[in-house]
Subunit: 127 residues, 2 copies
C-alpha cells in the first residue's frame, strides 16, 4: 500500500531535502535541516541512503554531490498516491478539491485556466 520504502526519521528528512534541491552535498543538506545534527551524522545518513539504493553520488572536485535515484516527479506521484489513500479515502477528487481550497489565494488566473483546460481534456479522455 505504501509506495515509498520505509525510511527512518532522519533518512526521510534528508531525502526530502535532496528532492527539494535536486542535488546536494553533505554540507548543503546540513544547512537545510531544521534541527541540525552534526556534519558527521549527515554524512553517515547519506552513506546509508546510498547503500539502500535511495541515493547515488558523483564526485565534484573534492566532494560528493548526492542525488536521488528515483526522479522527483515519480517520487511525487508516489507520495500523492499515499496521501490520497491515507487521508482522502482514496478519492483523488477530494484531494484536488482540498489543494485548490488551500491555495485559493495563491493560484493565479493563468494557473486556474490551465487546470480548467486539463479537466476538459480529462473529460474527453473518459469517453
Amino acid at each position: 500500500m505504501n509506495g515509498l520504502p520505509d525510511l527512518s526519521r532522519r533518512e526521510r528528512q534528508i531525502m526530502s531535502v535532496i528532492h527539494r534541491l535536486g542535488r546536494a552535498t553533505a554540507a548543503e543538506v546540513l544547512g537545510e535541516l531544521q534541527d541540525p545534527p552534526s556534519y558527521s551524522a549527515v554524512r553517515a545518513m547519506l552513506r546509508i541512503l546510498e547503500e539502500k539504493g535511495q541515493l547515488r553520488h558523483e564526485q565534484d572536485g573534492p566532494r560528493y554531490v548526492y542525488f536521488t535515484t528515483v526522479p522527483v516527479d515519480r517520487a511525487g506521484r508516489s507520495a500523492l498516491r499515499d496521501v490520497v489513500a491515507t487521508f482522502f479515502a482514496g478519492s483523488a477528487e477530494e484531494a484536488v478539491a482540498t489543494l485548490i481550497d488551500m491555495n485559493e489565494r495563491k493560484l493565479t488566473g493563468e494557473e486556474l485556466d490551465r487546470l480548467a483546460q486539463l479537466i476538459d481534456r480529462a473529460r474527453e479522455e473518459g469517453r
Copy 2:
C-alpha cells in the same frame, strides 16, 4: 517546514492506518499492517503515540479504541502541503495537474464537473 510531527517508522505506519480507519483497536491496527509485528508491539506503539499526544483512546467494553487527535482533514492538508513543498517545488498547480493525470481513467464525469466548478469559483475569489 514540515507540518507533521516527526514520528518513527512504525509510528507513522500506525498513524496511517488509524487515519484510514478513523478509529481502531490494537487488533484492527495489527490486521492492517503489511509486515505484522507482534500484538504486543502494536500495543506499545499505541501507548507511545498516546503519550506523544497523537492518539487518544476510549474504552469500548473491555478494549481500547484509538483515534487521532488531529482530525483527518486537517492532517490531510498538512500532508499535502508537505508533498507540494517537497516534490512540486511549492506549486499547487503542478500537484493538481499530476493528481488529475494520475487519475484520468478513474475520475468520473461528475467528479470532473465538480472540480471544474470549484476552479470557476476560485477564479472569482481571486479578483
